[in-house]
């Protein structure tokens, strides 16, 4: 099919790739997601925005577990996210098949980013309309990475993407400190989302995922695992917020 053997993402005279700019605009229209790297773990969270009151918000799953030690959330187009979740999961399992170990977060990030970059240079395809936040733990400790539609990736201590990213990042700059513990980080993530949320924040309108590093209690050989908080757990956190 020669009609689509050329890339649809081409340079404009001022050196920009407009398709990527448009993709970032799609990300900017998406629900806000935040991520915070604590001293002993990582938290990522997102607002689950329902288009109508008839939607069963509690069934929406924006928090994806890629492998035991890595989780992912997004801002932007849901369907594009699902494709990347699938790719990431397959990549992770392939790594585990090869090395019998979970992939280090930066390795998975690089592979995912490389896929996203391909879609800016291949024939007949468009870039992904999502930015991703990956949270995970490996031999370097806790990790938080953002991956953009262009395939650029950034390691963060704390960040936000999506609709309210500018205000959220300002909020985080004031609140973040490197010695934060995971519990504080979850609390801060919720507060950050609350700043930008329209209407009431309930345990079903946000999705939170956490992973903690190997602590003294886990030194008997169990690995840290990424998990989505249940509605009940989120309710507990919300009850501590005035």
């Amino acid at each position: 099919m020669d009609r689509y053997s050329f890339s649809l993402t081409t340079f404009s005279p001022n050196g920009k790739l407009l398709q990527i700019e448009h993709a970032l605009a799609a990300v900017g229209n998406g629900s806000t997601s935040v991520g915070i790297k604590a001293a002993n773990g990582v938290v990522i969270a997102t607002e689950k925005k329902a288009g109508s009151s008839l939607i069963d918000v509690s069934s929406l799953e924006h928090m994806a577990r890629i492998c035991d030690s890595i989780g992912m959330v997004y801002s932007g187009m849901g369907p594009d996210f699902r494709v990347l979740v699938n790719s990431a999961r397959k990549m992770a399992q392939s790594y585990i098949q090869t090395y019998n170990e979970d992939p280090p977060v930066r390795i998975l990030v690089k592979e995912l980013a490389s896929i996203m970059q391909e879609f800016t240079q291949s024939g007949g395809v468009r870039p992904f309309g999502v930015s991703l936040l990956l949270a995970g733990v490996d031999e370097r400790g806790p990790n938080l990475y953002q991956v953009d539609p262009s395939g650029s990736y950034f390691p963060w201590k704390a960040t936000a993407i999506g609709k309210n990213m500018v205000n959220s990042k300002t909020f985080l700059e004031k609140r973040f400190n490197g010695a934060m513990e995971l519990e504080d980080a979850v609390h801060t993530a919720i507060l950050t989302l609350k700043e930008g949320i329209e209407g009431q924040m309930t345990e079903t309108s946000i999705d939170i995922g956490v992973i903690s590093t190997v602590s003294a209690a886990q030194q008997d050989g169990t690995k840290p695992e990424f998990k989505r908080l249940t509605a009940a757990e989120i309710k507990d956190y919300l009850s501590n917020i005035v």
């Binding site: 098949q97 090869t98 090395y99 019998n100 170990e101 280090p104 390795i107 031999e139």
Partner: protein, 234 residues
């Protein structure tokens, strides 16, 4: 009526077999063993390379040190052994460049298994052992068949004298068939070294393909260290 045309019992059809068919495989003889300890692992292999009654070389090493200080001990086809080592070392270096650190022994072990299985339809004619230090600092030895089936072991022997040495290791390293022995006891380096040397000097007497020189690698947290002994040249 032609009586010679009476029915005979059915015979199996005669198949044509080409007994002159060229084989890509050759067994170059020789023997390799590995013993794992609490904080070290030992790999010992002879250096004779043969082809039937001919000796190709009295010194052709069968054990190779990888860049992460693990040792790959081999037996079977010499060409396949060398190529398997090269492929594995390439992958170890790629890993090092991508991950900014050495590959761990368990990860390398899994990688070797996959590498061998990828050639399921034309296998590496190699029976390798991979030896290194695991994440907890303990000695780890992994043994494989020619298509990559992997098992972590404390004492194993492959090659032309394996039938002579493996039972000896089962008894003296794994303490099998001894009523009052502690099967979980691991050998010290000195004990393992003596057992390796004795196993090979004895095997050299009985197995024509084993002999010439013995290379012994000891791998611990500090790295891989080699010693050599002479074996009988006959």
């Amino acid at each position: 009526m032609d009586l010679a045309m009476q029915a005979r019992p059915m015979e199996a059809p005669i198949e044509a077999h080409n007994h002159n068919r060229w084989s890509p495989y050759v067994d170059n003889g020789g023997t390799t063993l590995a013993i794992a300890g609490a904080d070290y692992v030992l790999v010992a292999s002879d250096t004779r390379q043969s082809d039937g009654y001919l000796i190709n070389s009295r010194y052709s090493p069968k054990a190779f040190v990888l860049s992460n200080n693990a040792v790959l001990g081999t037996s079977g086809c010499s060409a396949d052994s060398k190529r398997l080592y090269e492929v594995l070392e390439q992958r170890a270096q790629l890993y090092q460049h991508r991950h900014d650190r050495q590959i761990s022994t368990p990860a390398l072990a899994q990688l070797l298994s996959n590498t061998m299985y990828s050639r399921r339809m034309l296998p590496y004619y190699v029976f390798p052992v991979l030896a290194g230090i695991d994440a907890k600092g303990a000695g780890a030895a992994y043994s494989y068949d020619a298509v990559g089936n992997m098992q972590r072991v404390t004492g194993v022997c492959f090659g032309s004298a394996s039938a002579l040495i493996q039972p000896f290791l089962d008894n003296q390293v794994r303490f099998k068939n001894q009523r009052d022995a502690d099967p979980n006891r691991l050998l010290t380096r000195e004990e393992a070294f003596k057992i390796a040397v004795d196993a090979f000097t004895s095997a050299t007497e009985r197995d024509i393909y084993t002999g010439d020189y013995l290379e012994i690698f000891i791998v611990d947290a500090a790295g891989a260290h080699k010693e050599m002994r002479e074996l009988k040249h006959d």
